[in-house]
Structure formats: structure tokens, C-alpha cells
């Protein structure tokens, strides 16, 4: 309503402005017309004697010249002399329309009365006829005067100001109305502070109301925390045995269930409710066998019900289906008074960790056994044949050396992974000169690439900055990725290492034309112990730790690593490391 009122006022002001402007404009036009007529009359009167003299002398050429000068100098719309019958004999504007020969006599039939802006003066040429002088000093231009401009500009300013004030008032009143609605809702019992919030319009009242609600919400939260704290204090002050036992049980992340002798649930704590996917109220009185879908678990529980054993029984059972299933370790013990006690532990994550650990041990054993076997064979041959020819001897020693280095690398990777996992990996941050570091890496891998007939290219800028980091660990991360690229690129392929750095970060891209990966493998390639499902990969030795370690080291430096890969085409790994980022501690 308020907004409409302001629009109405603005419309009235606009109408009044236009009306005032029109009145002034009409008046100004009238005045201009009168002035033009007076000027025309004056010019015609001034010409009268001169034209009469020249006409008497039959010198109409002089009359024409005079009118032409006059029309130009006085900016006249029309300036001409006509005979009494209307024939034009001189025209200051349109010289072409005049007649060339003036007759001896002419009649008097033309209009000789001034009308509007055209002013006329009549004179008589003795013995020949009347001449009419016509002067038009011009119509009003219609140009806006200063007064008109002032009226229109002022009116427009008032209209705009009225609308702006109306808009602001509307916003404010709407905000107030919403606050009023919120208050009405509160009075009706609405306590959800979220529902009581009003739109933020930038106007003071709505935002102030929202701030008030936020303050209230904060107070509510603090009150809740204080209440909880108070409850704890009261509970601690009166540690009645009957009360404290359930509270202690509820503080455990181990499900505790007390069973009657008919194996119905008499008591369970909060964790047991979560593990059995229900609430305490619903579980009390329920047969425990109905809580487990696994028949083996029901059979184990039945033994306790039969009273066949009071010894502690421990078994594991799965709750739920598929990958989301939970593995529960159930400990059951019969009670002297009949019935039994169950303890439920969620060991799902432990079992997954066990599987990973077993896979790692299996893989590590395999990885360690291969070089150890090679070393043993070479050493046996060296020991059994002391007179072995030097070339053969050198070859065996070379194999031993290579395999020892391989063992060293595998054990180093395992230790680093284990340190990162345990959170004990220590970085040794220092200034790292990148150019010598990459030159060293290039030297290390050139022979390896040549042996495999690969084209290894290092694309580096002429100058690389110095960064803060752990040089050995960074070298380890890059060599792990580069080593993988060389390992999984067939003979004759290309491996390109592109290095660049800007003000903020170091970017290393390692691209190969190797066997590539499927999107599924690429998504998991940085996971520990993960090896791609491709049969070509399983033929090549590897622990599945190198890329995981590279990722961890890069993350510890505050950077990131990613891969883009196309199966059978190749892969591109991109490492980004901030040049001066604070180093993170291993988690």
C-alpha cells in the first residue's frame, strides 16, 4: 500500500510537471510569434520607400539585390515583392521563380492583408499598379527555453526522488511486516528459529531481527551444553549404583546385552541398539535369535540357552548385505543366575585392514623372494666355482648388486609407507635447488631408458627456482612416478618429463606412451598395494606402493598429484608442489 501511494504521488507530480511545461511552452510560442510579426512589419515598412523609388525608376534589379541581402542578413523565411496580381518580381529566397519582364500595367487582385507570420505592405507605382512587399521573419523554433528545461528537469527529479523514497519505504515496511508475521507465528507456538527468519533485504529491521534470532540460537546451544554439563555434574554428585551402571554401559562403544534364561533381551545399552539397527525400547523383550539373520549366530546363541555351556563363546557374524555389511564380534557368556550376557564389537574396519595387511605381506613376500633367489643363485655359483672366468664373475656380481639395490628400494618404500601410516615420518625441510635435482634424476634414468630402448626426454626451462622441501623425499616421489612410466612403457616408446615453475608452484608432468589404464584403475592407482587388473601389469614386478608413497610425499609438501590415462595409449602424471608452502606433519 505504501509503495502504491508513492507511485500515485509520483504520477501526480509528473502530471503537474507536464501541465506546467505545456502552459509555459504555449506562452513562449505566442510571444515569439508576436515578436516575429512586429519584426516583419518593421522590415516591410523600412523597405517601402526604397522599393517605391526603385520601382518608379523601373530598377527592379536593385530591389532583387536588396531583398537577397536582407533575407540572408536577417535570416528571413520569406522576403519578396509581388505585383498587384500576385506575380513575383523580386524574391530574396527563391530567385528562380520571379518573372523576367515587368508588364507596363498590372491589376490589383492579390491578398494585401498581413496574416500570421507573413507581413505585407502595399505601395502604389504611379501609372502602373500596386506592389506588395511580403516579409516573413520566421516561425517560432519550438526550442526549449531555460525555464521549460528547469520545469521538466525539476519535475523529473521530484518524480525519481518520490519513487526512490517509496521503494525504500516499501522495503522497510515489507521487512516490518515479515517481522510482524514471524512474531505472530512465534505467538502461535512456532519455536523453530529457522522458520522465524525473515528475508535479508539490507533494511535494518529485518537483518536486526535475524541477528536477534541467531543470538537466541547461540544462547539456546549454550544452554543445552550447560544443561548437559549440569546433568553430568548432578549425576557425578549422586553416584547411586543403580544409576551409574547403565550410564557406564552407555559410555561404551561396545554393545552390551543382558538376556533372560529364555534368551529374550532384558537389558541393552546404546551401542547394542545401533549394532542391532533398532532402539532400546523395541529391543527389550525381543528374542535374541530374531536379532541376527545369520543362522550360524543363532545356533551359537542357542547353546547358551540350552545351558550346555557357561564358557565364553566368541564368534563373528555379518549384519547387512554386500560391501556395506558390518562384521560383529560377539562374545557370549552364561550367567550364574540363568540367562547370558552378550558383548558386541564392530570389527568391520579391522577386518578390512587385516585383509589389506595380508595382501601386503603376501605381495611383499613375493617381491622380496624374487631378488633374494637371484642373489642366492649368483652367490652359490660364485662360491662353487672359484675359478670362474672374470667376465662371468663380473656379470654375477652385477646381478647381485642390482638385486641388492632393488631390495633396498622395496624395503625403503615399505618403511616410508609404514612411517607415514604411523604418523612418524619426519621431513627434513631445506632449500632445494631444483635444477641439480632434476639433472641427477635424468642421469639416474638415462641408462635405464636406453637399456629398454626408450626415448627419455627432459623438457626443462633454462632456469628453475629454489624451493623449500625435503629433497630426498621429493626425489623419491618423482623417481617412483618416472620409474613406473619407464616400467610400463613397451620398448621403442617415449617418456617425457616436463618441468616448469611459476611464482607459486612447481609443476612436473611425466607422460608416457605405455600401456595406459582403464578409468577404474586410474581412480585407484594411488591406493596402497593397488595394482591394475591388466594382465600385462601382473607380469611386471611391483609392490603397489610406489605411487601411494609418491602421493603421500607430495601431500606432505602441501601439493597434489593426479593422472590422466587412456588404455593402450599412455598416461600423464601431474605433480604440483607449492614452492614455499608450510610442510605438513604426517597424519
Amino acid at each position: 500500500m505504501v509503495g502504491l501511494a508513492y507511485v500515485g504521488v509520483a504520477a501526480l507530480v509528473a502530471g503537474a510537471t507536464v501541465g506546467a511545461w505545456w502552459s509555459v511552452h504555449a506562452h513562449e510560442t505566442h510571444v515569439q510569434r508576436q515578436a516575429s510579426a512586429q519584426r516583419g512589419d518593421a522590415i516591410a515598412a523600412a523597405l517601402r520607400d526604397h522599393v517605391a523609388a526603385k520601382a518608379k525608376a523601373d530598377d527592379f534589379g536593385a530591389v532583387r539585390a536588396l531583398l537577397a541581402d536582407l533575407a540572408a542578413s536577417q535570416s528571413l523565411s520569406a522576403a519578396r515583392v509581388t505585383l498587384g496580381d500576385g506575380t513575383v518580381v523580386a524574391d530574396g529566397r527563391e530567385a528562380a521563380s520571379i518573372i523576367s519582364k515587368i508588364p507596363e500595367r498590372w491589376p490589383s487582385t492579390a491578398n494585401t492583408i498581413s496574416d500570421g507570420p507573413t507581413r505585407r505592405a502595399v505601395l502604389d507605382v504611379p501609372g502602373r499598379g500596386p506592389l506588395v512587399i511580403e516579409i516573413n521573419a520566421g516561425e517560432p523554433t519550438g526550442a526549449m527555453t531555460d525555464l521549460e528545461f528547469f520545469i521538466l528537469a525539476g519535475g523529473a527529479a521530484v518524480v525519481v526522488a518520490t519513487l526512490a523514497i517509496g521503494l525504500a519505504a516499501r522495503r522497510r515496511t515489507r521487512s516490518l511486516a515479515e517481522v510482524g508475521d514471524a512474531l505472530a507465528a512465534f505467538a502461535s507456538g512456532e519455536t523453530d528459529l529457522g522458520a522465524l527468519h525473515v528475508r535479508e533485504t539490507g533494511a535494518g529491521s529485518g537483518d536486526a531481527w535475524n541477528r536477534l534470532l541467531n543470538e537466541l540460537a547461540t544462547l539456546r546451544i549454550r544452554r543445552r551444553v550447560e544443561d548437559a554439563s549440569e546433568r553430568r555434574t548432578v549425576a557425578n554428585a549422586a553416584p547411586a549404583t543403580d544409576d551409574i551402571v547403565p550410564r557406564v554401559a552407555d559410555a561404551l562403544w561396545i554393545g552390551l546385552i543382558g538376556l533372560e534364561s529364555d534368551l529374550r533381551i532384558r537389558y541393552c545399552n546404546g551401542a547394542a541398539g545401533i549394532f542391532l539397527g533398532s532402539t532400546r525400547d523395541k529391543l527389550i523383550g525381543k528374542a535374541i535369535s530374531d536379532c541376527f539373520s545369520d543362522p550360524a549366530a543363532a545356533a551359537e546363541l542357542a547353546k547358551v540357552g540350552d545351558g550346555r555351556t557357561r564358557a565364553r563363546q566368541v564368534f563373528e557374524t555379518r549384519v547387512g548385505e554386500g560391501d556395506g555389511a558390518t562384521v560383529l564380534r560377539v562374545s557370549v557368556r552364561g550367567l550364574t543366575t540363568g540367562g547370558a550376557m552378550l558383548a558386541l564389537e564392530d570389527v568391520t574396519q579391522q577386518r578390512i585392514a587385516d585383509r589389506s595387511r595380508n595382501a601386503f605381506v603376501e605381495q611383499a613376500t613375493h617381491e622380496l623372494r624374487t631378488p633374494l633367489t637371484n642373489i642366492r643363485l649368483c652367490m652359490e655359483e660364485l662360491l662353487d666355482a672359484p675359478d670362474l672366468e672374470p667376465a662371468k664373475r663380473a656379470q654375477h656380481l652385477n646381478v647381485v648388486n642390482q638385486e641388492v639395490r632393488r631390495l633396498e628400494r622395496i624395503v625403503g618404500d615399505m618403511l616410508s609407507i609404514s612411517e607415514i601410516e604411523a604418523g612418524t615420518l619426519q621431513l627434513a625441510p631445506d632449500d632445494v635447488r631444483l635444477a641439480p635435482m632434476f639433472e641427477e634424476i635424468q642421469t639416474d634414468f638415462t641408462t635405464q631408458a636406453k637399456t629398454k630402448n626408450l626415448r627419455l626426454t627432459f623438457a626443462m626451462p633454462p632456469k628453475l627456482p629454489t624451493m623449500v622441501g625435503d629433497r630426498d623425499k621429493l626425489t623419491l616421489a618423482i623417481t617412483n612416478v618416472l620409474g613406473n612410466a619407464i616400467k610400463y612403457t613397451p620398448e621403442g616408446g617415449d617418456v617425457t618429463v616436463s618441468v616448469r615453475a611459476d611464482d607459486k608452484e612447481l609443476i612436473v608432468q611425466i607422460a608416457d606412451t605405455g600401456i595406459g589404464m582403464s578409468p577404474e584403475d586410474a581412480a585407484k592407482v594411488f591406493e596402497r598395494f593397488y595394482r591394475a587388473k591388466d594382465p600385462r601389469v601382473s607380469k611386471i614386478t611391483g609392490t603397489g606402493l610406489g605411487l601411494a608413497l609418491a602421493r603421500d610425499v607430495v601431500k606432505l609438501h602441501g601439493g597434489d598429484i593426479g593422472v590422466e590415462s587412456v588404455k593402450d595409449k599412455g598416461s600423464t602424471f601431474t605433480i604440483r608442489v607449492p614452492l614455499g608452502a608450510p610442510l605438513r606433519h604426517a597424519a
Binding site: 528459529l193 529457522g194 527468519h197 541467531n214 540460537a217 547461540t218 539456546r220 546451544i221 549454550r222 543445552r224 551444553v225 548437559a228 552407555d250 559410555a251 561404551l252 562403544w253 561396545i254 545399552n269 546404546g270 551401542a271 541398539g273 545401533i274 549394532f275 539397527g277 549384519v319 560391501d323 556395506g324 558390518t326 564392530d346 568391520t348 574396519q349 579391522q350 577386518r351 578390512i352 585392514a353 604418523g423 597424519a587
Partner: protein
């Protein structure tokens, strides 16, 4: 507000994408409660993509941690940024949650 989830072994990381405020707080609470129930409490809330939490977001988180509190656990938060950490400290709520540096540390706490 979009809420993403990531599986880490048997643990589900819930990653809200944006501030937990006003209307989003209820959706956040419902989603986390649903995941907690379906995953038997093996959930962590990763706040690395959450720049801000208002009073309603805090209340939602408090409801969740109280619900877990009856079963001997607190809501596990990780990736908490400076702003959210300050909010938790100012409101004296930091000790109502288990705070971890990142998802990895939070997931390892289930071992």
C-alpha cells in the same frame, strides 16, 4: 547444499559442499543421521569444503553428537577450517566432538 560421500574401507566420509546454515542444517542432520544408522555409526564428517557453520548448523551437529553419545561415541569431524574451528571454540562446543586433522586420521580411529 550438496552432500557428497566417500567410502574409506568400512567408514563413510560425509562431505558437505558449502556452509551449513539455516535450511541446509536440517538436510545435513537428516543425511548424516541416515548414514550413521545405515553404517552403524562408522561415519566421519569431513568439513574441508565447509567454510562456515551458523547456529542452526551447530545445533544440527550437536544433535548428532548427542545421539551418538548415548552409544559411547561422539561425532567425528575432520578437515575443520580456521573459521569453523573458531566458531566451535567461541561457543565452547569443540569438546563435544572428536576432531581429526584429515579423513585418513579420522578413519584410522575406527581401528
Amino acid at each position: 547444499m550438496e552432500i557428497r560421500t566417500q567410502q574409506h574401507g568400512a567408514v563413510k566420509a560425509i562431505v558437505p559442499q558449502g556452509a551449513i546454515c539455516q535450511g541446509d542444517a536440517a538436510a545435513f542432520e537428516n543425511e548424516v543421521a541416515r548414514e550413521l544408522q545405515s553404517n552403524m555409526g562408522r561415519c566421519v564428517v569431513d568439513l574441508s569444503a565447509t567454510p562456515f557453520v551458523d547456529s542452526q548448523g551447530l545445533e544440527a551437529m550437536l544433535n548428532l553428537t548427542e545421539r551418538l553419545g548415548d552409544a559411547g561415541r561422539l561425532l567425528k569431524l575432520c578437515g575443520v577450517g580456521d573459521t569453523v574451528r573458531e566458531i566451535l571454540n567461541v561457543t565452547d562446543l569443540a569438546d563435544q566432538f572428536e576432531l581429526y586433522e584429515d579423513v585418513g586420521a579420522a578413519v584410522r580411529s575406527f581401528l
